[in-house]
Amino acid sequence: MSDLKITDLHKHYGNFHAVKGVSLDVQAGEFTVLVGPSGCGKSTLLRCIAGLEETSSGRIEIGGKDVTHARPRDRDIAMVFQNYALYPYLNVKDNIAFGLRARKFAETEIEKRVKRASDMLGIGHLLTRFPRELSGGQRQRVAIGRAIVRDAILYLFDEPLSNLDAQLRDDMRVEIKRLHQELGRTMIYVTHDQIEAMTLADRIVLLRDGVVEQQGSPLDLFERPQTRFVAGFLGSPKMNFLKGTLTRTGVSLADGRELVLPGRESLRSGQAVLLGVRPQHIALAGKTVAKGHERIPVTIELVQPTGSRVQVTLPLGGTSVIAELGAHEVSRPGEKTFIDLDMTRAIVIDAVTEKVL
């Protein structure tokens, strides 16, 4: 059964067309991440789902019920806001209990639920504190507690981790993933962070300029992007794009170097393309050249160690590309060495339409 069904949703703000005909079908228990660069309409879409924005046209169904024009409180949803939106004049317990009291739950039931939620999030000792007395991470836990204490059909998260520092963000990400596994609820999560999207999602919906660019499982999007935008958005460091022209056997780069593309015989020769190569698919040359790999001599330009790996900038095909190599494999700029390019995993993109061929 689908818990959320959006059909051809549009949202205009005056002349600005923020969401342009998005359709979406979210299955019960699924963790869906709406991701995209800022201004792509992902937060607007979420606010439309929540009922905080009136939709311009289209239809929204939650739990099989048409809620397109329903008020937020009648939609059976819970939401976690980016800035936590805790009620500053109520203590933690009353914050979590607020929704239950508004919905006239019995005090004993409220007591039970608040305890369960606060135990689950490890905030049981904070119940009598006020929001201003909490740290950022604690506030976010309270905000999540306020959402999960209710039996909503849909749980919405609007960039919940973006106000936290890096360390805390990683911890909370794990926490949210764990919560989803324990509760098995349907969750819609908005973020601009592709790592959050990759790690949390059952399904990623990648938005660009108010349109769904591609949706699918994280690995699907990562390994089989349909457009240059998707290929460039997911993955860190970003995918390298090399300008070139298709030849009979492969692709000829801007600096004249010819690379053989295995299994791409169907492609039309002479077409202007971009060759997409992930930094992880460039390795330091081994003893032998593996099948489908291309060995290229290079001079290292820049070395950025990240501890476990090292990100190396090197000139290739008339531009600079980034390769992710093992730590200690290269030591300094100016070093001359050989790299192996895994052409079996490279993608070819039409330079004009930017669609993957």
Partner: protein, 292 residues
């Protein structure tokens, strides 16, 4: 770099002294002087300026007209203040939403507060006029027969007329202040509460009211003090009449001071008002939690 230090460390106080002296002269002197006067026997009919000590204050307690004027003042305050507050709040909520021409509407609504109260009172005096005033005219149209209500003369009509003018003039003040306060309430908090299933009253009680309370309390205090000293509108409309029916404490003090020329007695009235307002203010500031 070292600043040049004047050998006399107290020199700065000498520099400040003239300003402080001037402030005391303008601010404190009249207060003390009128306090002294209130213990004397000054009136404009006589040259006697001997000390009467507490005679004037004793007279206050025997003066029935004074206590009636206090009652009139409290009556107007007790009705106008809550109405202004609630109306202002309702209007503020109305204008919180985005709407076309919002700025223009707000500017128009605030106009009454900009007008000088005496001018407003005089204008309403004309509007309420029983023969030529448009108000009776409009009521006549609605009623279908000639209505000749004596708004500023008939005892049971003067208070509605006065309180109406007062509300008309000062509700925009409440409106403006509460609008500013409400605009500052974090929108995501009210949105979160809406999603949580809360209705208007619950959201107002737990989220909006605590957030706007400090501002609202000050607005209530300012308006309360203003209403206690109400003068111009009533002076323009009825001059305290019919008889002494709408005589407030300020109007009574004015009559005593500038019509009866009882200078010392008027000073005593003034200090009674100062005393009452000080007590109310101190209590209110504590009670409203503004002193924190």
């Amino acid at each position: 770099m070292t600043a040049a230090v004047h050998p006399d460390r107290n020199f700065k106080y000498w520099l400040l002294a003239p300003a402080i002296f001037l402030l005391l002269l303008i601010g404190l002197f009249p207060l003390i002087y009128s306090l002294v006067v209130s213990f004397m026997r000054i009136d404009m009919m006589d040259t006697d300026t001997s000390f009467a000590w507490f005679y004037n204050y004793k007279q206050l307690f025997k003066d029935g007209r004074l206590w009636w004027s206090l009652a009139h003042t409290l009556l107007i305050t007790a009705i106008a203040l809550p109405v202004e507050l609630l109306l202002g709040l309702a209007m503020a909520y109305l204008f919180l939403e985005k709407m076309p021409w919002r700025q223009i509407f707000i500017s128009l609504l605030v106009l009454p507060t900009i007008i000088s109260p005496i001018v407003a009172g005089a204008t309403w005096r004309l509007l309420f006029d029983n023969k030529y005033g448009p108000i009776n005219q409009i009521i006549s149209w609605v009623a279908g027969e000639r209505i000749d209500a004596l708004w500023t003369i008939k005892p049971n009509l003067v208070y509605p007329a006065i309180i109406f003018c007062e509300i008309w003039q000062w509700t925009p003040f409440m409106f403006l202040i509460l609008l500013a306060a409400l605009s500052n309430v974090d929108k995501s908090q009210t949105e979160a509460a809406e999603i949580d299933g809360a209705r208007f009253l619950r959201i107002f009680r737990y989220i909006a009211l605590p957030a706007i309370w400090p501002v609202m309390a000050i607005a209530i205090l300012i308006r309360g003090l203003d209403l206690f000293r109400i003068f111009d509108i009533i002076w323009a409309l009825t001059q305290g009449g019919p008889g002494t029916r709408t005589e407030t404490i300020s109007i009574y003090a004015y009559t005593q001071g500038f019509k009866q020329f009882e200078t010392s007695y008027t000073a005593a009235i003034a200090f009674l008002v100062v005393f009452i307002l000080t007590v109310i203010c101190t209590w209110a500031i504590r009670r409203m939690g503004l002193a924190k």
